[in-house]
Amino acid sequence: MAAKETIAFIGESSPLFTRLAQHLAKKHYPMLLVNEAETLQAKLPAAVESISCIKDGCWEADIVILLEANSIELELLEKIKEVATQKIVVYLISDKEQGATDENSASTLEQALPNSKVVRLLYEATSNKLVVSGEDEEAVAFITTLMKGMAGHTIEQHS
């Protein structure tokens, strides 16, 4: 169904999130920024709606993007597990956080969300490159296509 997928971002607004949101807004994707702490509508790009309930945000979404993979908490994953089944869950990590944190994020996510399609999105700040990888080929290909054309960034797909 190519009626546009809804994308939920979980976490804090950041410069990278703003660039991602602006890119996806040009492609007319409905977006939600999910943050339990506060509603942030005033600071968000126009195409993004703010929502405070994590479960509802993920329930409404087709794709979930975790903006702060380095601070993923099991409690949060437990909240979204039931509504993230069969959905693509992307965890965004910057090259500064690679290594042990990255491996922890991957295994935590895959164990906590066994029925979701987990995709890793690595941001290499120095080269402005986004590297997409994961086990589910279809999900990786979809996220790569979604990110393509993002101004000033190159996209690379790893199987």
Partner: protein, 192 residues
């Protein structure tokens, strides 16, 4: 979230707890806001949809932009373009949420896996498809041979809920009559 699906399935077949737990892992749960399109003409229907809460409609649009409603789906009903779902060909339909909805959606590969791992569901889905065929044939026959008034009466008797939840112009579109004719029939029904 899966209570109604469980109820509907177990009305037809028996399923172990383990089998239903597996079933749950293959459905994509989705909350959808009113007026959101789930399928557009020209796209492949990737999901067949079970309505846990809310109301969907499927329709086609002619070259003049007029909508022709094919089906409504209330709680406990399934919705999708089966032709497109099974063949992977583009759909001729639109599917829209008429109310805020809670849906359970399944892709063709997941559906195949489900039937392979839980063969008892073959019977459930066979009966569903069988009922769908009967309804489609009956609707086709009605379009040739039943008066507008009888079509309306059939709808009232079969799905009284729909009349409370769907605007009149959509009821008219579903019955294949004009709004004016529907209004006249409703007036006659009230007078009777």
């Amino acid at each position: 979230m899966f209570e109604l699906l469980h109820k509907k399935i177990t009305e037809t077949i028996s399923l172990s707890e383990e089998e239903f737990e597996f079933c749950k892992t293959l459905f994509l749960p989705k909350k959808v806001r009113k007026r959101r399109l789930l399928l557009e003409e020209g796209d492949v229907c990737k999901y067949t949809i079970f309505v846990e809460k809310g109301l969907l409609r499927s329709y086609t649009m002619d070259e003049k932009g007029a909508e022709h409603i094919l089906q409504f789906a209330l709680e406990g009903w399934w919705m999708g373009d089966l032709y497109s779902f099974f063949t992977g060909e583009p759909s001729s339909y639109y599917i829209e949420a008429l109310e805020d909805c809670e849906l359970l959606m399944i892709t063709k590969p997941s559906w195949d896996l489900l039937l392979e791992k839980v063969p008892a569901l073959e019977r459930y889905f066979r009966i569903l498809v069988q009922n769908n065929l009967i309804t489609t044939q009956r609707r086709l026959m009605c379009s040739f041979s039943v008066t507008a008034s009888d079509k309306y009466q059939n709808l009232v008797e079969s799905f009284p809920d729909i009349l409370q939840r769907v605007p009149q112009h959509m009821i008219a579109s579903y019955l294949g009559i004009t709004r004016e004719t529907l209004s006249r029939i409703r007036g006659q029904a009230v007078r009777r």
